[in-house]
Symmetry: C2
Subunit: 261 residues, 2 copies
């Protein structure tokens, strides 16, 4: 693997649960030699992507990420544009709404919004990346990726995360076909046993799928009437976000969505 990727993967170790990491920890968790890790971390530090704090000289994400984010948002107002829609979706459904984007070969959460309706809710503060085969967002996204990526994902061993996780590539392949024909995806407890979720894909200017919008509910609340209530508002929200980003779904999906919403 490339040096640069190794360095960047260090960044992924920082989470809300673990915002500060010492050198030895960093090396252990990244599976790197300490000397190598030190040099990589120093490079990241020089650029300001991480910074060292305190007498223990632990590392944390640095101010440079803010500068880059401001630049990105100025060019492609992704987050800012999507947030209100996300919150509206959460409020309308009474459940957790979240938005994930393809970053490299991973599907990563970008933003989420909670509803105040119920005292139990699906939390996803600390998720780093969503498995394609076990989440509605993952399935919705994968269904519209180039076939080569689909094959790659399905040819790797698929982890059985819960009792309900589907891990048969053939079954999943069939589901992807269904998703393409109906314009949305569903996962019943495939990622966390007591979470059901529904997701719709998001598209860019070229009609390429770049991520998914999803509503995740505590299983006990997800009955048939709830599911059919969520679907149209989810799809409308996905349409809105897609068009706000200057994107457009492929014609086939646009047609299905038009009927469904």
């Amino acid at each position: 693997m490339g040096t640069v990727l190794k360095a960047l993967e260090l960044l992924d170790l920082f989470t809300r649960a673990q915002p500060l990491i010492g050198l030895s920890d960093l090396a252990r968790q990244a599976g790197l030699n300490k000397a190598t890790c030190y040099r990589l971390a120093t490079s990241l530090c020089d650029f300001g992507l991480v910074e060292q704090v305190g007498p223990a000289r632990e590392y944390r994400l640095g101010p440079a990420v803010l500068r880059l984010a401001a630049l990105r948002e100025a060019q492609v107002p992704t987050q800012e544009a999507a947030m209100p829609i996300l919150q509206t979706l959460a409020n309308a459904t009474g459940e957790t709404a979240h938005l994930s984007l393809m970053m490299g070969q991973h599907l990563r959460p970008l933003a989420h919004a909670y509803s105040a309706t119920h005292s139990t809710r699906v939390m996803l503060e600390d998720t780093e990346s969503f498995p394609f085969h076990a989440t509605s967002s993952g399935l919705a996204t994968l269904a519209f990726q180039p076939e080569s990526l689909q094959r790659l994902v399905l040819s790797q061993p698929l982890q059985k995360l819960t009792r309900l996780t589907e891990t048969d590539p053939l079954v999943i392949s069939a589901r992807l076909e269904t998703i393409r024909s109906q314009g949305w995806a569903e996962s019943r407890g495939g990622y966390e046993a007591d979470v059901h979720s529904i997701a719709a894909p998001l598209f860019d200017t070229f009609g390429h799928c770049i991520g998914a919008l999803s509503v995740a509910a505590v299983s006990s609340r997800m009955n048939d009437s709830q599911r059919s209530a969520i679907r149209p508002v989810l799809i409308r929200a996905a349409q809105e976000i897609t068009s706000l980003w200057g994107g457009s779904p492929p014609p086939a999906i646009a047609a299905i969505w038009h009927k469904a919403a």
Copy 2:
């Protein structure tokens, strides 16, 4: 220079003025071989720090920066906490307020706020990094850096950006001493001929200087009364931001600021 830094320096080529860059351009501007640049850009792409768009496959900053920024803000609410103070400062002075932070060895702009008072204003949309010797922010920050960094900066050739840029290390060294004793810095046309600015340093929890807050005005408006009006509100804003970030100035500066504000 390390591979990782080379890759990261690619990120610095993306600006508001040049948000999309093709492979050949990227290589030229970074001074890298095209093959090298390609691999580096691919690595950045794999992580999502940049993405390729359009039929020309040009690169631009990717969605991963948003994810990282969200994490950083959750841990250290830098930007969010400072923005309202920045805007208030701009309004109170009728000029452009901006905030810069040390990232690695560079001082880089993080956020800025404009005042609607005048139809001419100082714009800094596209600044990548501020020279230490020629800006008030740079001087204010440099004055409180470790001596080793001060020596490093002053031993390198200092560019004469305008007729008024001071480039004599000895003179600058003396100015830094003044800045330390008065708690603020000033630059009269040293960066852009018709811009005068005043800056105050910002400190972290450990009393280390991590950047500066500055008010930049069109020279013609910066008379003595304006200068002495700006100074106290600037210092109060710097105190506010520092304490909002959980930081505190070294005792000597705290005392001076207390009197000056």
